[in-house]
């Protein structure tokens, strides 16, 4: 190199270098600004992302409350540990391939697994998605054996509902299913997808109380999801044991008596409204529904024309038939349409408004009072009342007695029934009420509809001489009835009707099948045509459709009532032949269970 370099002018080159340095300096300044923005201005956002990154919340499900009978000793609903297989999306690279592997390991259709995962796609990837529950021990072993090459599949344990007596009391207890979209919307704060919720009966009505409070663990995990430490733990609080009002013996007997038929039985204590037995047939085994999936059993139940999931005691709406006659009697006496000793003559039939109306006894009952009209369930007597009492007066008394509105029972789904009136006909059909229709209503036919539970509650009001109760299934639940507690009806009115019901059972009336020696039962039978005889013959549906529904409702003992029994057997034939003996067996069981100690002491 030469000396020339020393004297050379480098100012141009150096100026260019300085310019670049200025750019570098500006970019370093910009760096500070960018980091200021992220670290100072957006700190909260990134800090919460960091916390979410490294912590993982695991929900500890709470066991549901144990449900027992009224003694607290007989367990109707319990829990046991169950295993479920869950899929963790975070632990897989190739989701489609691992879905296929998981499906073959669990012997499931890959599309079932895929749709399950699709359903919960919005969840964080680390949260396990249940793909199969009710695992067998063999399946658990198979999954555990593949733990290392199938990290996306894990076995989780959860307390699972167990109904140790299968279908026993199933309509009262209800069943559980995975929360649906509607549940999740209504109870967004309490429920998360995948939770099991009560779908019927006590399980639904008391779901919040039964469910307990879930616990949670917050773990600190590394980037591979491995647990590093536990940050926080809240233990689950199991639901508090709940004793039902159910009397095990009565319930078992009621179910035994209904087995093989379709119908409902309600047994309650008229003094406080405690339901001692509530049976509906056909029935189902709720154990079969406790799964997050839709098993074949479920499909078959939903599609079953006999509808085993229908709680006929609350949801079945039937014509009361002759069970309505005591209501007519109260309306007639209290409105002073007739006096206590008024009699009408029954010649087996009567022509009213140009149509011949028959009594069930074509030979006729002769002249009888209200008491004997109830005793023999004479139609003609009540036709005469129907001719004299306006429909709206009848409706007022029926509603006073609790028909046409919910009883307020503490499980969901009950129906209101229907009490027709002129206004009802105007608003629903836009037609005038025909007096002839009142004649049908007078014997409990026509548009009138009731549930077996409403009839039991009505019977309790009769037994209490006007005092109403609220039926309930959980010990300690409210006893206050909706609407009026006491009726403004003269006491002797009730005594007349009760006398008729007593005679029906004890003095050769239609209800004599319910008679129990020494237990002064009072009752009323009913046999309601489901379709008219002519229609049945025309469409030829055969004997079953032509048979009447068989009703009985009654209470005992007469003076200090302790028990109300209401029985409905669909297509059971005459009320006296089918329903009354069933009620009799229940009265008898109750009496022998409760009176035996006293009588042995007496002996």
């Amino acid at each position: 190199m030469s000396d020339k370099g020393i004297y050379e002018d480098f100012s141009l080159v150096r100026r260019r270098a300085r310019r670049i340095f200025v750019i570098v300096a500006v970019l370093c300044g910009l760096t500070l600004a960018v980091y200021w923005k992220i670290q100072i201005l957006d700190y909260k956002k990134y800090e919460s992302l960091a916390v979410a990154n490294r912590t993982r919340e695991i929900i500890l499900p709470a066991p549901r409350a144990i449900l027992t009978d009224r003694t607290g000793d007989i367990i109707l609903a319990d829990n046991r540990a169950a295993f479920k297989a869950s899929f963790i999306r975070e632990n897989t690279r190739d989701e489609a391939a691992s879905i296929a592997r998981v499906a073959s390991l669990l012997e499931l259709d890959p599309s079932v697994v895929a749709s399950r995962i699709e359903k919960y796609k919005s969840w964080p990837a680390f949260r396990p998605i249940v793909v199969k529950d009710r695992l067998t021990f063999e399946e658990v072993a198979r999954i555990e054996a593949r733990k290392n090459d199938l990290p996306e599949l894990i076995v989780e344990t959860e307390p699972r509902r167990l109904y140790p007596r299968q279908s026993f009391c199933s309509h009262v207890l209800g069943y559980l299913q995975e929360a649906d979209a509607n549940d999740l919307k209504e109870r967004a704060r309490e429920l998360r997808p995948g939770d099991m919720v009560g779908k019927m009966g006590i399980e639904q009505g008391y779901d919040r109380r039964i469910a307990g409070r879930e616990g949670r663990v917050i773990d600190v995990v590394d980037s591979l999801g491995r647990k590093q430490s536990e940050l926080e733990r809240v233990d689950p609080v199991p639901g508090k044991k709940l004793a039902l009002t159910i009397d095990y013996d009565l319930q078992a007997k009621a179910e035994e008596l209904l087995a093989g038929r379709e119908g409902a039985i309600v047994v309650l204590d008229p003094s406080n409204g405690e339901i001692l037995a509530l049976a509906s047939f056909p029935t189902f085994d709720p154990n079969k529904f406790i799964t997050r999936f839709t098993p074949e059993e479920w499909q078959s139940f939903v599609n079953n024309p006999d509808n085993p999931l229908l709680n006929r005691a609350l949801q079945g709406q039937y014509s009361p038939g002759s069970l309505f006659k005591p209501v007519m009697g109260i309306a007639a006496l209290d409105s002073r349409t007739i006096g206590l000793e008024t009699t009408f003559y029954c010649g087996g039939g009567i022509e009213i408004y140009g149509a011949l109306r028959r009594c069930w006894n074509e030979a006729g009952h002769g002249a009888l009072s209200l008491r004997d009209a109830i005793r023999y369930s004479c139609n003609v007597f009540f036709y005469q009342l129907g001719r004299r009492i306006p429909i709206d007066t009848i409706a007022r008394y029926a509603e006073m007695m609790g028909l046409g509105r919910k009883t307020g029972v503490d499980i969901p789904g009950e129906k209101e029934g229907l009490v027709p009136s002129t206004r009802w006909k105007k608003t629903t059909r836009n037609e005038e009420w025909y007096p002839g229709e009142t004649i049908s209503v007078a014997i409990g036919q026509g548009p009138l509809q009731v549930t077996p539970l409403q009839m039991a509650v009505l019977t309790a009001r009769l037994a209490n001489r006007g005092r109403g109760i609220r039926p309930h299934l959980v010990l300690g639940a409210s006893e206050e009835p909706p609407g009026d507690s006491a009726l403004n009806v003269r006491p002797e009115v009730f005594e007349q009707v009760i006398e008729g019901m007593w005679r029906s059972v004890n003095e050769g009336g239609t209800g004599q099948g319910a008679r129990v020696e020494g237990f002064a039962a009072c009752g009323k039978t009913g046999s309601t045509q489901t379709i008219s005889r002519e229609t049945a013959e025309r469409i030829g549906t055969g004997a079953k459709a032509a048979k009447t529904h068989s009703w009985f409702t009654g209470f005992a003992p007469r003076a200090q009532p302790r028990l109300v029994v209401t029985v409905l057997v669909e297509y059971g034939g005459g009320g006296g032949a089918t329903a009354a003996p069933i009620a009799g067996k229940l009265f008898s069981l109750y009496k022998s269970n409760h009176d035996r100690p006293r009588s042995t002491q007496g002996n």
Binding site: M1, D3, G5, I6, E8, F10, L12, V13, R14, R16, A17, R18, I20, F21, V24, A25, L27, C28, T31, L32, V34, Y35, W36, I38, Q39, I40, D42, Y43, K45, Y46, E47, L49, A50, N53, R54, E90, A125, V220, V221, D222, S223, L224, Q228
Partner: protein, 363 residues
């Protein structure tokens, strides 16, 4: 080779800044690898010792001699990389890692300094006020061949580091507006061609991720997102040394190399970022100031290109880890773990000190 007068002229401030930044890097590498016993930090300490030897060897030989050797060094690396391309073994999708003795070495890191020397040599005798087409073509070719070989490895990040050397040299030599316009057009055409024909899918994805990192948080955007979380959650004062959860729980990728600055930001917060940035900027400023103190054109180019190269890598990295630039695998010189990166940086800094200490020499 080195006399006492020159010893006094060694830029001890720059040397101290270099060592300080390296030690800061080692502290951070220790934090990043603390879960595995901090092994990388001890290795980096050894590399620093080796680097200091390289540094003093570099300054002991007059940079004019380095200039004279430049074509041979350049040719040697070219051959080496061509051989590597034929026989190299693949580590994480790239051929650049080979075994030298018992330590892994990445020759392409050192190739940057070889190219730097080569360009300084080309322009040391170039006196025209603006770069001619011929010299532009020559320097583009000299940079393009090794860069192409490295792209083929493929190592996009390291290849990119050749661009500031080329453009630094051309800017210094002088670019007319016409040339700049022509180069911009050429860049757009090349960029479009490269996007369509040369970039691999994962590289395209990274560029797309930069625009929207949230679109696939478990996939390609994961690294940027985790890095942003680490930096942002550091706040003003950080989580404390060795305590940053993003780093300790391994959410942060490539913690000891490409994302070392995110470890700093998480452990020490904005305060730490400010301090290290200040120290780093002081070092860069000192390097740029050497440009004005060199006695000849070769020295100017050496100091400027070295300063430009280190500035480029630093700035690209700090913007890359916050998502302002695509993730391209460019570590921060001195701070990030990596033997060959450290050695080549010490080599480059040695050359700068070399130029400055010999500014009064009469040869």
């Amino acid at each position: 080779m080195i006399d006492r007068v020159q010893l006094k002229e060694i830029d001890w401030v720059l040397t101290a800044l270099m060592v300080a930044n390296t030690l800061a890097g080692i502290l951070l590498i220790y934090s990043a690898s603390a879960d595995s016993g901090g092994g990388y930090a001890w290795k980096q300490l050894l590399w620093m010792a080796a680097g200091l030897i390289v540094f003093f060897l570099t300054i002991s030989i007059d940079y004019k001699a380095w200039m004279a050797f430049a074509p041979y060094i350049y040719a040697l690396f070219l051959l080496f990389m061509a051989g590597l391309f034929l026989f190299g073994r693949t580590v994480s999708g790239s051929r650049s890692w080979i075994r030298i003795a018992f330590m892994g070495g990445q020759p392409s890191e050192l190739a940057k300094v070889a190219v730097l020397l080569m360009l300084a040599r080309v322009f040391s005798e170039y006196r025209a006020p603006y770069a001619s087409r011929g010299v532009i073509a020559l320097s583009a070719g000299l940079v393009g061949v090794p860069m192409g070989l490295i792209l083929l490895q493929p190592d996009f990040g390291t290849a990119m580091c050749f661009l500031p050397i080329l453009f630094g040299a051309l800017v210094l030599a002088g670019l007319t507006k016409k040339t700049v316009a022509a180069m911009l057009i050429g860049a757009v055409v090349l960029g479009a061609a490269g996007w369509n024909f040369f970039l691999k899918d994962y590289q395209k994805k990274r560029i797309e991720m930069m625009i929207n990192p949230a679109q696939d948080p478990r996939g390609a955007g994961y690294h940027v997102l985790q890095s942003q979380i680490a930096i942002g959650s550091g706040g003003l004062t950080g989580k404390g040394y060795l305590k940053g959860p993003q780093s300790r729980l391994r959410f942060l990728p490539a913690r000891h190399t490409d994302f070392i600055f995110a470890v700093l930001a998480e452990d020490f917060g904005f305060a730490g970022v400010f301090a290290v940035l200040a120290a780093y900027f002081a070092m860069l400023a000192r390097m740029f100031s050497s440009v004005g103190l060199s006695r000849d054109r070769a020295g100017i180019y050496i100091a400027f290109l070295a300063a430009g190269l280190i500035s480029f890598q630093f700035l690209v990295n700090v913007f890359m880890i916050v998502g302002w630039l695509p993730i391209t695998g460019i570590p921060i010189p001195l701070l990030s773990y990596g033997g060959s990166s450290l050695l080549s940086t010490y080599f480059a800094l040695g050359l700068v000190v070399n130029v400055k200490m010999r500014r009064f020499a009469n040869v």
